[in-house]
């Protein structure tokens, strides 16, 4: 793996190279992502049509919007495949500044549902924190590759500081879930960049201590604590987060092996499970498609993770490898947290399930991240 490529770089590589790259793209990864996206579209429709009908809206409204998002996502993925990821990484400092400004700017727009999460652009909402995941991955990949295997405490601290600023801003929105996604990205990338085990452990210990202090001194809102602890005993009360998890588990359990059937199922159709087309979409899969559908989704995610991991293994340079591992951390944490939450083994946080959850910013981000991985995997043949 060449560590010192001095050739001049442009952001988008030439068309001839792109053509050859297309032939080298990971077909397995693409197939898995497309299959999941297809399932996602059907489930978004299944999850939303009843509520939309109930308020007299077009039952296909969210489906149509999600198709648009996925189209944008495919375009973003194609762009990610075509660009030169090393020159892309070189532009990360600028992207970082833009991200921080965008996150700071959020505090100037009035809060919605108690959070400063997005910019309203016409019909669509722009969530900087979603795109920020890529920026954080990019920044850490660039710095990590440069300082690889020499991450002493000072460099490790700087490494953390890069990620820490946006993470803190996201946390203050407040969006605890996405902040945790950032943290998991930091952890996995620091590990791969050669951080010492004791530093990593120290970071984890510091995180726990901070969490304890925040709970102790009331920085976390009561509902946030409730959400985080609800998975410990979800059936204890029919209140709020715990109640939602309780109903979600009932939905998935009621699906059984073969499911209640697509567009069937009292739990997800009768509004017992909340946020069905977003955070709790896996409950809809579980109830309507059963274990057969649920395990298929988990398998497809497993394939995606495997292919991302493989891309990291075969990456021709540390930048590519770190990029892939960052995306892997992003996906694995989101998958495990989101699906785990619907089954009551993880706390309740508002984290999207890649390719399934309805939403523009998260869908485009996920596709773009896959594009980067495809790019890295294809670049080794260069």
């Amino acid at each position: 793996m060449a560590m010192t490529d001095t050739a001049p770089r442009t952001l988008v590589s030439g068309s001839v190279r792109a053509e050859s790259a297309v032939k080298r793209l990971d077909a397995v990864l693409i197939a898995a992502v497309l299959a999941l996206s297809g399932i996602g579209l059907v489930m978004v429709y299944a999850a939303s049509r009843d509520s939309l009908l109930a308020v007299g809206a077009d039952p296909g409204l969210y489906l149509k919007k999600q198709i648009i998002f996925m189209t944008f996502g495919l375009v973003a993925a194609a762009a990610a495949v075509r660009l030169d990821y090393r020159s892309f990484l070189e532009r990360m400092p600028l992207a970082f500044v833009v991200l921080v400004i965008a996150l700071l700017g959020l505090f100037l727009v009035p809060a919605k549902n108690g959070a400063h999460g997005w910019y309203q652009l016409g019909l669509f909402q722009l969530q900087p924190a979603e795109f920020g995941k890529i920026v954080v991955i990019g920044c850490l990949a660039a710095y990590g590759a440069a300082q690889r295997n020499q991450l002493d405490l000072r460099r490790f601290t700087f490494f953390l500081t890069i990620a820490g600023l946006p993470t803190a801003l996201v946390f203050l929105q407040p969006d605890l879930g996405t902040a945790l996604v950032y943290l998991s990205i930091v952890l996995v990338m620091a590990w791969l960049a050669g951080a010492q085990g004791k530093h990593i452990l120290g970071l984890v210990a510091a995180g726990i201590a901070t969490a304890w202090l925040m709970i102790r001194f009331g920085v976390l809102k009561e509902y946030q604590i409730k959400r985080l602890t609800s998975f410990i005993d979800a059936s204890a009360s029919a209140q709020d987060a715990a109640y939602n998890v309780f109903q979600s588990k009932i939905a998935i359990g009621a699906g059984g092996v073969t499911g209640q059937g697509l567009f069937q199922g009292t739990q997800t159709r009768g509004s017992w499970v909340p946020a069905r087309h977003t955070d709790f979409i896996f409950s809809v899969v579980g109830e309507q498609l059963g274990f057969a559908g649920g395990i298929l989704v988990v398998l497809l995610f497993a394939i995606i993770c495997w292919r991302i991991w493989r891309a990291a293994v075969v990456a021709r340079d540390p930048e590519g490898m770190l990029l892939c591992v960052g995306v892997l951390g992003l996906f694995v944490f989101q998958i495990f947290e989101n699906i785990g939450m619907t089954m009551g083994i993880m706390p309740v946080t508002g984290i999207p399930l890649p390719f399934l959850t309805y939403g523009g910013s998260s869908t485009i981000t996920a596709f773009f991240a896959i594009g980067l991985v495809l790019n890295v995997a294809a670049s080794r043949f260069r």
Binding site: R148, Q239, K249, A254, G270, F291, A302, W309, V313, F336
Partner: protein, 721 residues
Amino acid sequence: MNTQQRLRVIGVIVVVLIAALAGRLGILQTVESADAKRQAARNIFDTEPIEPTRGRILDRSGRVLVDNLPLNVVRIDRKKLKKADRVRTLSRLSALLDVPYYLLERRLDDNAGGEFSPREVARGVKESVSIELAEHPERYPGVAIGSAWQRVYPNGNIAAHVLGYVGKVTAEELARQPLALGYARADFIGKTGVERAFERELRGEPGAELITKDRLSRVVDREVTKEPVPGKDVRLTIDLDLQKLLEETLVQTERAARQNVDADNPAVFVKATSSAGVVFEPNTGEVLAMASHPTYDPREFVPSITQERYDELFKGEEKASPLTNRATFGLYPPGSTFKPFTAVAGLRAGMITTQTVVDDQGEFVREDLCKRRVKCRWQNAGKAALGITDLRKSLRVSSDVYYYEIGNKFDDLSKAKENGIQQLAREMGLGKPTNIRLPDERAGAVPDEAYRKKLTSLYGRKKFPNDNWFTGDTINVSIGQGEVLTSPLGLARGYATLINGGTVVDAKIDLEIRDRAIGGAVATAGDASTGAGAKPPATTSTLAPVNPSTTANPAAPTSVAGPTVPAPSTTTVAATELIVGAVGAPDLGIPPGTTLPPIDAKPTVENHLDFNENDLSVILAGLEDVTSAEGGTAVSAFEGFPFDKCRVGGKTGTAQRTGKQDTALFVGFGPLPNPKYVVALVVEEGGFGRQAGAGVRRVFEGLCGLPVNPVRSVTGGGAEF
């Protein structure tokens, strides 16, 4: 650790995490699936009971005495009302229902009788309330609108003691009821009277409804899984018009009695604190009317009564326990009304004949007892000397001395006790329950030595120190004093035994239990067998007045026919036809033209005695003299009564009670020669028995289709009692 190794660690962690997801998914959707399916069903399905419509209570011709009014109720299911929503929801409800917040809260938190069933917080709510609750379930979590009924009394408080009232089932009742009856804590149950005695028939069976809901508790679907079976109607033996007449009469009799002065203390007026009366069919045992005064209004118990109101209405000495049905629960010494039983006992034992005469000098003395310095003198009231007295006269003038002589003979003949007065009185039904199907009957007592010993052993020597039977005790019993106790109903039944020729019949309050759904052509099936007498009463708007010479109904069952009395009519319908009195268009509870099914009027016979026909006729003659012959104790009460149209006999009783004014009693029967009615009337602290006779007279005016006059205050006559 080099980079490749670090990558491998990441790979392992990823595999572990994804395997954990797959494993959890597998467990959730196989092992835990059945449980989750149940939970899911519980989420959306709710079973709600459908209250059956309670049966109505009808009078004997089908007029409605107790009906149901369907209404809406508001219930709160506490399982579904979250703590966080509680204050907001109750505040909204309070405004919507116009019920104070604290009251809603109290009803919601009322835990008596089980924690889990929904609480009823309001009933009889307006339609607008129902609509608001149905349209905005999200504003009222856990609140549901349901249907219920409540009792209505088209005739006000008429027959309150017979009908009784319903109330919410109590924890105690729930614990006592077999679970199979399936009462929930919001259910109503009969508390007293017919409502309680016929609870099983009246209630019906609750149905069930399966309700499908979404998360916001909006009802998506309703499906009746079990139809409720409505309660059956109970048709009583009571005649509404006669009942009204009797109740008015009680009030009038008390009022008239209060114009008299107390015989023992001329400085005070008679108190007449309370009274009770019964109209009894002597052959069938049917209770045609039964009243107790003071009374209460069952409407006070609808839908329920507060403790404060209950205390206000019913507590306190001066209120004289208006909830008590004195006709069955009140026990009174019968006094002189007991004399015919002593006479029959004396005749049966051969101690007297109808010809036996006693020279009544106003006093009976036992010299031997005087020497022993115990009570040895028994006097007539006012020590009146009534002269030469035979059996017939003894009844007319109510000579005590005559009966002291009989009592004294039984007292001497200690070995003949088994053939004594008490034995005979019990054989005729006194001191025994009439087995009327009402929850509050007391049997009374005819005391003897065994009775005293039983009381002492049951309740202790402290309360009943006297467990021996002494010389002289039987003398007291002979005139219905000395611990002899009977309810007005029991007394009427005792006279019925005398009049119907010796058959002790059970008292009856119900004619028929009928399905409400049954209308139209029900009755055809059994018509032929009941004979000519079975004319449907409901179709006749005016009932024929009594004809004293009515011939007996030929369709009498043989079991009742006594040897000395002409066969009595036993078809109740025939009896109904004889009931007249306060008319007025019957408010029929059944559609016009409906034929009431024939009633099996066979009475339940407890015992039968064979009386000597001659003896009985002398006794009846003596009793007829009481009202209508010179010197009869009730002649003043029956002054001007048209005996040519309706012959009525009877017996006065003026019973002494320690610490109280005398109890006035009268038992009348008629129309002779084949009496269809026995009327017993008791006025507590009412003075002379003849005043009660004045009340009975008025009832017979109604029974015989005569002009009904107000009850007069019967003064004069001095020594009569």
